[in-house]
């Protein structure tokens, strides 16, 4: 699980004195990370056949690439986008998948770098609440308006008590004389 170094940005603060030691440690970690990154060396093109150890990995890869947004061509997922960035993201998703990362870990990796925006299905949280609730909100608004209209019509129907002369006048209009 050396690859976990990749998952989170380095958290340590550096004091000037400790810099050399941390630098050495960082270099070792990076070297290991570099070895992992080296696996499929080039970006993955669209529809390129890929090998997986298990069927579950294949499924995870193809689910993930359809759920991640290509951040430079924002209406496309990385599954369908021809942008170079999407190809790199596919490569990273593939690597992490065959290294045994779970679906959530891959999504977390991407959101750490590109924000929630990278998810085609945004999570339900405070700043996306309106996005999720608005269809239901509109339904409620529409429902209330509809009820109002219906009620008003019923009232109008109920209040149609005309006097005798008015009714006769109405009859005349209807006949058209």
């Amino acid at each position: 699980m050396i690859g976990r170094a990749l998952l989170r940005p380095a958290q340590h603060h550096r004091a000037p004195g400790a810099l050399a030691g941390l630098r050495a440690l960082g270099a070792v970690l990076l070297l290991l990370a570099g070895v992992l990154v080296a696996a499929p060396a080039t970006a993955i093109s669209i529809g390129q056949p890929l090998e997986f150890e298990t069927e579950a990995q294949r499924e995870q890869y193809y689910t993930l690439v359809r759920e991640l947004r290509c951040t430079v061509c924002q209406t496309e997922t990385i599954y369908e986008s021809p942008a170079p960035l999407a190809a790199d993201m596919r490569r990273r998703v593939y690597q992490m998948t065959i290294e045994g990362y779970s679906k959530n870990e891959v999504i977390e990796f991407m959101t750490h770098r590109y924000g929630d925006f990278v998810r085609y299905r945004p999570p339900l949280q405070f700043n996306t609440a309106l996005l999720w609730v608005s269809p239901f909100l509109l339904l409620v608004v529409g429902g209330v308006a509809w009820l109002q209209v219906v009620r008003r019509r019923q009232q109008m129907a109920a209040h149609s008590d005309l006097t005798e002369s008015e009714r006769r006048a109405l009859e005349r209009f209807r006949r058209g004389d």
Binding site: P9, H13, R14, L22, G26, L31
Partner: protein, 177 residues
């Protein structure tokens, strides 16, 4: 005025108001979740010397700018003058040369000048993904501890330099001493 007119009018004005505010909001609102986080780890060759390895530790130590550029990127040329000016001021400017060919990148620097202290060569966008790069040019401001304090997507202009980057650098440098 009756309720029948006032309510829809108020609603319509409300929606128009929201749209208006949306239009006024600063563009380029792509989220940058890395602001406030430490500079992500990487290890790459130096552009000038393939033997020299650069890591994020090479970019950390002072208040600094990290720019992402490429020789094929037209808007990088537009902002290049600002890096020359800032370098003269004494602020270290590091950079990633992104998805480029080494000889073309070196030629670009020959023609337009080289204001960069250190340049990491990132032809496969490995560090680019770690740093959440969308497309060139992008610019980060690091504090002396290597925390990303600001990110600008797209070319910087005189206004961004004067209103955002310079004040931030001055503030960070003042806090340092």
């Amino acid at each position: 005025m009756s309720k029948r007119i006032v309510i829809p009018l108020a609603l319509a004005l409300g929606v128009l108001g929201l749209l208006y505010v949306g239009l006024q909001m600063e563009d380029g609102g792509l989220p940058s979740p890395l602001v406030g986080k430490p500079a992500p780890p990487f290890e790459l060759e130096s552009l000038h010397d393939p033997e020299e390895r650069l890591t994020e530790a090479d970019f950390i130590g002072q208040v600094a700018i990290v720019n992402v550029w490429a020789s094929w990127c037209d808007s990088c040329r537009l902002e290049h003058q600002h890096w020359r000016a800032l370098a003269q001021r004494g602020t270290p400017i590091y950079s990633f040369n992104y998805r480029d060919r080494r000889e073309q990148a070196l030629r670009y620097l020959e023609v337009f000048g080289d204001p960069f202290e250190k340049i990491a060569f990132d032809p496969q966008a490995d560090a680019g993904l770690e740093w959440g790069v969308y497309a060139t040019p992008e610019t980060y401001v690091l504090d002396a501890e290597g925390i990303i304090r600001y990110k600008h997507i797209g070319p910087v202009d005189a206004r961004v330099i004067q209103e955002k980057i310079l004040p931030l650098i001055e503030e960070l440098e003042a806090g340092q001493s």
